[in-house]
Amino acid sequence: MIQTKGLVKTFIDGDKQTTVLKGIDFRAESGEFIAIMGRSGAGKSTFMYQMSLLDEPTAGEIILNDVNTKGMTQDEKGQFRLNELGYVFQDYALLPDLTALENVALPLLMQKLSKAKAYEMATASLERIGLGKKINSLPSQLSGGEQQRVSISRAVAHKPKILFADEPTANLDHESSNKVMEIFKELHKAGQTIIMVTHEEEYGRMAERIVRLDDGRIVQK
């Protein structure tokens, strides 16, 4: 379960203050697949960064799986992200020095799994998304679509409670985007909670629910 109460985010640049999120109250139940949509500058990515604990809100509360994250230290947030959350970034965000397998295995190693177990789980995760033959490829040897699939594999290999995806299809061609969305739909079918930011109506409609933002406020739940 995800809940935000009165979420405010203000950016300060010298004397200039810009409030991007203006008191957002939001709730998503476990197993939901939600698309956060809105025009450019509506605050959808900022909203997701707050919910996913990558950023610190100016005011308000975020409750993830019944845990109020207010007052958590950076280390506690890091540990929470490692164990409970998964991330898919717009530009894949794979580590260039690690192979596909190593990229996926890294968070598992961090979770204190043995190397053998982590590699076994990572291999299984990559095979599920059809990249079983490319586990030893470096990101630079993969296409954009393949890199994004590795990124999804990394995000879900440790079975997170919530998967956050920030414009996961923005850099992909139509075919690769469809493949990515198919993976999301399968994950959702398996009970994965997914929060996806997108500006593409076609993919937004594939979600179970659309939350629309405009000018820092939710205008459609």
């Binding site: 990558l54 490692l82 959350l85 991330y87 020095d97």
Partner: protein, 412 residues
């Protein structure tokens, strides 16, 4: 422990997949730094060390017995020589007679008192064969030839007294226009004789070049030393024998009642000891600068590396990789550079530089400079280099890791 393992894993992958040219360049800088740390101070210390070594080889030998203060010679010499002969560590010894006097060159041409070429000297009476076996002095003969035991009225002059080799004029000191084969007039113990310069001996060991040698039999006659009491005895020990043990054995046997007993270290001139300390200090100062330069180099390398990878550092933090793990990975990378640099540096140092400079010493006016690189000293320098590198790698990594995670990911 897990953080260290994962940090090592990340560092390993980053180094393995980094540009080989960049890695090579960083390691090259570390090699130069290592050599700077070891060679500069090693050469400075080597200058003096070789001087000390030469002093030991060509004058004092391993243990030196000399005339005690307020005495004219080593009394009871024959008994002391018996003691020396009974030492199991003794390989050979050379007794020497010494007496102050003067030598005069071109005495037939320079008749006026003001034109006289006279120099105050120390005459040293030696058994030429024994002395040569002990010190190898004959190899320093640059003109004429070495002495024989049965030479009569023939001397070998230290190059310091010969103008050709010592063209420096100083108050109270006169270098003579003399060459091998010339006649000189010597005065010792009130006796004046004409003698022939059989040879000129030139060495960087001051004690060798500042004496006038003649066979001990004739000097003993000139100074009337009928009791065979000598002025110093140089003792060469067998390989591996400890001069301190021999010194203590001689003291225990009572030789110190008649002679000043010194190991070669005790007998070093004080100025050599002082210069050695000063050069070691200078070497350490220069090495410290090298260490700072190496630290700054690694700092810049790691800082640039971390800055350009800021986004990936942000991503790692974003997916829950602890900041410590990332810092440790950079520390391991720094360590890799330092260890590789030190290892290659060690190969160059002990595989090439030390043997090369040993075989081709650096020609300095007062010594043949060698490169001193002791294992303990080198180990300390490697430790220092690795430690400085670790710190220099850790600080920039920490600076970047502490940045806001989202700002790093988004490149803000």
């Amino acid at each position: 422990m897990d953080h260290i393992k994962i940090g090592f894993f990340l560092a390993n992958r980053q180094v393995r997949r980094a540009s080989k040219w960049t890695t090579g360049l960083i390691i090259f800088v570390m090699v130069l730094t290592f050599l700077n740390l070891t060679v500069v101070s090693g050469v400075l210390v080597g200058l003096i060390e070789s001087s000390i070594k030469a002093e030991r080889q060509y004058y004092t030998s391993d243990v030196l017995l000399s005339t005690p203060d307020k005495k004219e010679y080593i009394e009871n010499t024959s008994n002391i020589i018996e003691m020396i002969k009974s030492l199991p560590e003794m390989e050979m010894y050379s007794p020497r007679y010494s007496e102050a006097g003067t030598i005069e060159a071109n005495f037939k041409e320079n008749t006026k008192v003001t034109d006289k070429e006279v120099s105050g000297v120390v005459f040293t009476g030696i058994d030429p064969d024994t002395e040569n076996k002990l010190t190898g002095i004959s190899k320093f003969v640059v003109e004429g030839s070495y002495l024989n035991a049965d030479d009569f009225d023939q001397v070998m002059i230290g190059s310091l007294f010969v103008k050709k080799y010592s063209p420096v004029e100083a108050a109270g000191f006169t270098a003579l226009n003399v060459k091998a084969g010339d006649k000189i007039r010597i005065t010792v113990n009130g006796i004046t004789r004409e003698m022939t310069v059989k040879g000129i001996v030139k060495s960087k060991v001051n004690e060798v070049s500042t004496r006038v040698y003649l066979p001990e039999k004739q000097l003993r006659e000139l100074i009337g030393r009928d009791d065979y009491n000598v002025d110093d005895i140089a003792i060469k020990l067998k390989d591996g024998a400890d001069p301190i043990v021999v010194k203590e054995a001689l003291i225990k046997a009572g030789a110190n009642k008649y002679a000043k007993i010194q190991t070669y270290e005790d007998a070093q001139p004080k100025f050599l000891k002082d210069i050695k300390d000063t050069f070691a200090l200078l070497g350490n100062m220069i090495s410290s600068i090298g260490l700072v330069v190496a630290s700054i180099t690694i700092f810049i390398v790691i800082f640039i590396n971390a800055i350009t990878r800021r986004k990936f550092i942000g991503i790692m933090k974003g997916i829950g990789i602890h900041g410590n793990v990332i810092e440790i990975s950079y520390v391991f990378q720094s360590m890799f550079y330092a260890i590789c640099g030190s290892f290659i540096g060690l190969l160059i140092l002990y595989g090439f530089l030390v043997p090369f400079i040993d075989a081709h010493p650096i020609d300095f006016p007062f010594s043949d400079g060698i490169l001193v690189a002791t294992v303990s000293g080198t180990s300390i320098r490697i430790g220092l280099l690795i430690f400085a590198t670790l710190i220099a790698g850790y600080i920039p990594a920490r600076m970047i890791v502490r940045k806001n995670t989202l700002d790093a990911i988004l490149g803000r």
